[in-house]
């Protein structure tokens, strides 16, 4: 689904992306930022994934279904 750009000011960056694909261990974290950037720029996610070399559906689902919640959550940490 396309990322809305007009969400709340906290941003919709997303809990943070897993380092690796749960299923196969591919270091998915390394492509996340580029993926998000390009998809947000309006590119077709499938095409971006193909170009990033993410072929298997196990890895693709992680990137597609990930919800970046850290940016929402991080403002609520206790002050040390």
């Amino acid at each position: 689904m396309q990322e809305d750009s007009d969400r709340s000011p906290i941003g919709d960056e997303s809990m943070i992306i897993p380092i690796r694909c749960f299923t196969c261990g591919y270091p998915i974290g390394a492509v996340w930022e580029e993926f998000v950037k390009r998809v947000r720029a309006g590119e077709d996610p499938a095409k971006v994934l193909d170009e990033l070399g993410i072929k298997r559906y196990c890895c693709r689902r992680i990137l597609i279904s990930h919800v970046e919640l850290v940016r929402e959550v991080m403002y609520f940490t206790k002050k040390s």
């Binding site: 559906y57 196990c58 992680i62 919640l69």
Partner: protein, 1135 residues
């Protein structure tokens, strides 16, 4: 799918969806509570004191007038008396405060004709509903909300009472003031019965009219014992002649003749006076006739049909008689077979009570208590001859405490329990669903089969799936997505409108006209009866026309949209029901006129661009809300292509018949229905992100899923619910196969490697709280490291993690037995000690320790002060939960299972690409359960991952599964979702292709870590000396009756004895051979003594169960003398 009418309606799915989006953007998901509460705060509170606005005293002339009443801004009064006006909800949660605002009243003290200056006083505190008009956070921008620690997406709709979030659950009730007719129960003298619950502010009185076998009608209502003949009641209400009575019932001779037995029965009592005397003699026994009549009048005015009026005027009594006449008419119609029995479960006959209504009830009763106290204070103060000053006499804590107590315990006025519940914060869905829950007051003990059944009128109002299994099935319900509950409006306005503008002839007038023969009875047959909120108000020449006219005016906006109308017409019946009261579940529908939508493409465009709101559409009559009653007149098309000219309405969005929980199910229409019900229950147990501010919150227990994902297979409703921002599950690669067999009987095999990489990891939080109390006599608790001298000192090891202030350090690893907060209390019997003059009284250890069997890392600590000014310490402990054997998981199709085995990636089967499953379910989980939705989700999930875009699985509007299969084929995978797989252990190809795809799985909060338990030795109960029960008390595992039976069956005597005696509550008692009594050992004399024979007794030591000893002593306490007769264990054989 072509339409028959020829003219196609141009309304595609996306346009319909736009309407839904606009609806929710405007209303949110808890609008019902907010509207109800807002109305109470702004209007209801003023109305609820109207009948008590003058507080009289028994001192003549002295009175207090309540001029106005209103609620202020949220505020907390601290111990030092200061007012904390900058209170935030988060501060209330953390400090165990109540988020409330003062209730101000303008009171005027009057004596005779002299009135003082109005005084503004605080008469109590009103809890504030979050995000209501009175809550400051409802107007804050997101960044401000974040600064004060609130989740900007939180919907509100709940209260914070003593720090805990509480919901006032919607209560379902039978509609008031509506006549319901029914057949009498078999085997009784009653053939038919009509019942009405007459209620107005503060009263609620059921009135029953029965028809006996002999054809007479009898009335019963609570204030009067026994039954009163119908005709006598009518006479008492002022209709003296038989003719009048008969006409008040019906102009129809067939119905009138049914009244003959009743009239005959009441011949002896012919005047109003006599009738009143008859009634009075039931209550005012042994009094003179005058006072009997007076008493009867009073009773009738105040308690008989109070909703019509409680003033004792002639007109009101006449109206009451008329209402009673209508009851009789309806009853006789039933007798004559002209109508059927009324359906109690029809939603037109139900009303919902929301937070505002419930608070109004509570406030009224609290206010009455306040008034009583004020009256007493006034009288006392006056009798002492002091100058009366109001502000000193007001005791504001009466209202505050009454309301707070009810809200904290859920015990409401009228004996209802469980009204206020702690908000379920397991996850986002569970919270929203809790805020939209509806409970029925019917007892769960009785079957009530019909009440539990899904009723056709619940369509679009209550979710057909979301109800618990078991005793509460069908009694606890949840609102459907688009259901909206009417707030109610003044019926006087509508009545005036009907009579003055719409040609309704008032009933009394019509009656008068008949009596004077201005209209013939036959003429009246053609008229329609008009009922407003269940009460008969008059006749109209043409009911259909009236209904049509009201609808037209409503669509034009000339009548409030809250007004609903229904016209019932059969051969005998012609009635118009108009409703404008509160608590009806209504749902929006698109209006069709002559088979054409009033909604245009232009509307949709405007909505999309935000130039128009949903309310505008309602105002323009493009969309209207129907209640269950009006829906009886509607003919609603499900989809645009079904529309014919006969249709009156078009459904906006068929899937909106579902509630919040059921809306999470993709392809729900392909599942067997109980499976959807199971999922609706399970989604509320899934772990996820329950609130963005979870790190600040101090919930007593909560969970957090580490890497939540949004489902690849979506339903459109998920966006609206906010599930995609607060998800509670992960997309897992699921294979359907047996593999090792460790997934039989609903177990699941999980990929150990995936688990090691973070799949389904979660954190469990538990908060431990304690308070440093101060007691009378200068005694107080102390939060400190207890010294070894205190009572019940737990040993130095237990306190090793405490800081100097007596509280654990943050990030310390804690295990069972560790103390989190060191605390000592003064001894409970300190007073006694002092009296006895024992100088050294030891303090007692009251430290808070980690729960038995739990462990974790100290996450955060809050040190603050409670409302009473005590030091309050909260310690939150977190524990990492990596999936392990026995943890529970479930898909969104009611398929739950526990992990039966964790298998590493290299042993698992892999596809040609090398993909291993995250999860393997057993094929036997599918055929009998028929959860086709899960199979479709599996394929759809795979497609979604491959094509980089989520699949829409909205029930009834999902993407075509055949298309999905085709695209799967195009992307290089077999179209049926199977893939050939190789066994990771041998590298061999598995004989048959395996069904593998992506399914959204939820981790449920039942985890073995919280459940596993074993014990060898441990604590025992004091009373019976048997092992304690339950994991929390480190209890033993019960060796029960059936287990005992098996040992007996095997003759395993020694084992039986060991289990039941030696390892349980063995004890030794001393029994006197002479008298059979239990004796004791006297330590000072070093002798065994018998209670009867003293030291002369012959005592034997006997091994018994302690429970047996207890039994003997209990018998003795009841003056029964048990006697133990002793014998030799071995007898020497005689030679």
């Amino acid at each position: 799918m072509g339409s028959l009418s020829g003219e196609r309606i141009n309304l595609d799915t996306n346009a319909r969806w736009t309407l839904i989006e606009v609806f929710f953007r405007e209303k949110g998901l808890v609008r019902q509570h907010l509207d109800s509460y807002n109305r109470f705060i702004t209007h209801g509170i003023k109305e609820s004191i109207k009948d008590e606005s003058i507080i009289t005293t028994n001192i003549p002339g002295l009175r207090v007038e309540v001029r106005d009443i209103y609620v202020g801004e949220p505020m907390v009064r601290e111990v030092d008396g200061s007012e904390n006006r900058s209170i935030t909800p988060m501060e209330c949660r953390l400090r165990n405060l109540t988020y409330s605002a003062p209730i101000y009243a303008k009171l005027v003290l009057c004596e005779g004709n002299v009135c003082g200056e109005p005084e503004e006083v605080v008469i109590g505190e009103m809890p504030i509903m979050l995000k209501s008009v009175k809550d400051r956070t409802s107007k804050m921008p997101p960044d401000k909300l974040i600064r004060i620690g609130e989740d900007p997406k939180d919907p509100g709709g709940y209260f914070i009472i003593n720090g805990s979030e509480r919901v006032l659950v919607i209560q379902e009730d039978l509609a008031i003031n509506r006549i319901l007719v029914d057949k009498g129960r078999e085997g009784t003298n009653i053939t038919h019965t009509a019942k009405v619950i007459s209620a107005t502010v503060g009263y609620r009185i059921p009135i029953i009219l029965d028809r006996h076998k002999d054809g007479t009608l009898h009335l019963s209502f609570p204030p009067i014992p026994g039954k009163i003949p119908f005709v006598i009641m009518m006479r008492a209400l002022g209709l003296e002649t038989d003719e009048e009575i008969v006409l008040a019932v019906s102009p129809d001779p067939d119905i009138q003749s049914e009244l003959l037995p009743s009239l005959q029965q009441a011949q002896a009592i012919a005047t109003t006076e006599d009738a009143l005397d008859f009634i009075g003699s039931r209550v005012a026994i042994g009094q003179v006739r005058e006072s009997r009549i007076e008493r009867a009048k009073q009773l009738l005015d105040k308690y008989f049909l109070p909703h019509i009026g409680t003033e004792g005027t002639e007109e009101i009594r006449r109206k009451k008689a008329l209402f009673l006449g209508q009851m009789a008419c309806k009853l006789i119609e039933l007798v004559l077979g002209r109508r059927g029995v009324d359906d109690k479960d029809h939603y037109a006959n139900k009303r919902l009570k929301l937070a505002g209504d419930l608070l109004a009830m509570l406030f009224r009763s609290a206010f009455r208590g306040f008034v009583r106290d004020l009256r007493y204070q006034l009288e006392r103060s006056r009798s002492r001859g002091k100058r009366v000053k109001l502000s000193i006499l007001i005791r504001s804590d009466i209202i505050t405490e009454r309301i707070r107590h009810a809200m904290a315990t859920g015990n409401w006025v009228g004996g209802r329990t469980g009204v206020s519940q702690i908000l379920d914060r397991t996850n986002w869905i569970s919270m929203l669903s809790h805020l939209r829950r509806v409970v029925s007051p019917l007892s769960r003990g009785q079957p009530h089969f019909e009440a539990r059944d899904l009723h056709a009128t619940q369509w679009g109002r209550l979710c057909p799936f979301e109800t618990p299994e078991g005793p509460n099935c069908g009694l606890v319900k949840n609102l459907a997505l688009m259901a909206y509950i009417s707030v109610g409006m003044d019926e006087k306005i509508i009545e005036r409108l009907l009579i003055e503008k719409l040609g309704v002839m008032p009933a009394i007038k019509v009656l008068e006209m008949i009596r004077r023969h201005r209209i013939g009875a036959e003429e009246l047959f053609k008229y329609s009866k008009v009922f407003l909120n269940g009460t008969f108000i008059g006749y109209h020449r043409n009911g259909a026309e009236l209904a049509e006219k009201i609808r037209r005016l409503r669509r034009k906006g000339e009548i409030p949209h809250e007004v609903n109308v229904a016209h019932y017409k059969t051969e005998f019946i012609d009635e118009v029901y108009i409703n404008c009261d509160a608590g009806r579940i209504r749902r929006p529908l698109l209006v069709l006129e002559n088979g054409k939508l009033r909604l245009t493409q232009e509307h949709i465009e405007k909505l999309r661009h935000g130039e128009m709101s949903f309310n505008d559409l309602v105002r323009e009559g493009v969309i209207e809300y129907l209640d269950a009653e009006e829906e009886e007149n509607a003919y609603i098309a499900l989809n645009p292509e079904d529309v014919t000219p006969e249709h009156t309405h078009l459904e906006i969005w068929p899937p909106s018949i579902l509630g919040i929980a059921a809306a999470t199910i993709p392809f729900a229409e392909h599942n067997q229905s109980p499976r959807n019900a199971y999922q609706a229950a399970m989604v509320k147990q899934a772990l996820g992100l329950y609130a963005a501010n979870y790190q600040l919150r101090m919930d007593s227990r909560s969970h957090l899923l580490h890497y939540p994902q949004k489902p690849l297979v979506q339903t459109r409703m998920l966006d609206i619910i906010g599930y995609n921002e607060r998800p509670a599950g992960q997309n897992m690669i699921v294979a359907v196969m047996s593999f090792t067999g460790y997934n039989m009987e609903d177990a699941i095999i999980m990929n150990l490697s995936s688990v090691e990489r973070g799949l389904a990891r979660s954190t469990f939080f538990r908060t431990y709280t304690t308070e440093e109390r101060k007691y009378a006599g200068g005694l107080e608790d102390r939060i400190e490291i207890p010294s070894p001298q205190v009572w019940e000192y737990k040993g130095a090891k237990a306190y090793e993690l405490l800081d100097e202030d007596g509280i654990v350090k943050v990030e310390a690893e804690v295990k069972s037995g560790h103390v989190l907060i060191g605390k000592t209390s003064p001894s409970r019997f300190a007073e006694e000690y002092r009296e006895r003059g024992i100088g050294t009284m030891r303090r007692k250890d009251a430290s808070v320790t980690i729960r038995h069997g739990e462990r974790g890392i100290v996450d955060s600590i809050v040190i603050t002060t409670s409302q009473e000014g005590y030091k309050l310490v909260k310690v939150k402990v977190r524990d990492l939960r990596v999936p392990e054997l026995g943890d529970k998981f479930a898909s969104r199709h009611g398929q739950k299972g526990v992990i039966g085995m964790l298998i590493p990636q290299y042993d698992l089967p892999y596809t040609a690409e090398g993909i291993t499953p995250d999860l393997i379910i057993n094929p036997h989980a599918l055929p009998s359960r028929m959860t086709l939705g899960q199979l479709m989700e599996s394929i759809a999930g795979k497609v979604a991952a491959l094509r980089g875009k989520e699949v829409d699985g909205t029930p009834f509007f999902s993407e075509d599964i055949e298309d999905l299969k085709k695209s799967l084929l195009l992307m290089g995978y077999p179209l049926d979702g199977t893939e050939p797989m190789y066994d990771g252990r041998t590298g061999e190809l598995i004989g048959i292709p395996i069904f593998i795809g992506i399914v959204y799985y939820q981790k449920l909060h039942h985890m073995v870590a919280d459940k596993m338990h074993a014990r060898a030795r441990g604590p025992i109960q004091i009373l019976t000396r048997q092992p304690t029960e339950g994991r929390a008390r480190e209890g033993g595992l019960r060796f029960g009756e059936m287990e005992r039976d098996t040992l007996i069956g095997h003759g395993a005597v020694a084992l039986l004895r060991e289990r039941l005696l030696e390892s349980s509550d063995r004890t030794y008692i001393y029994v006197c051979e002479l008298c059979g009594h239990i004796g004791w050992f006297n330590r000072t004399k070093n002798t065994y003594e018998c209670p009867v024979h003293g030291d002369k007794g012959i005592m034997h030591k006997i091994e018994v169960s302690y429970a047996f000893k207890l039994l003997l002593q209990e018998l003795m306490s009841m003056l029964i003398r048990p006697k133990i007769i002793l014998g030799d264990r071995f007898e020497l054989a005689e030679r």
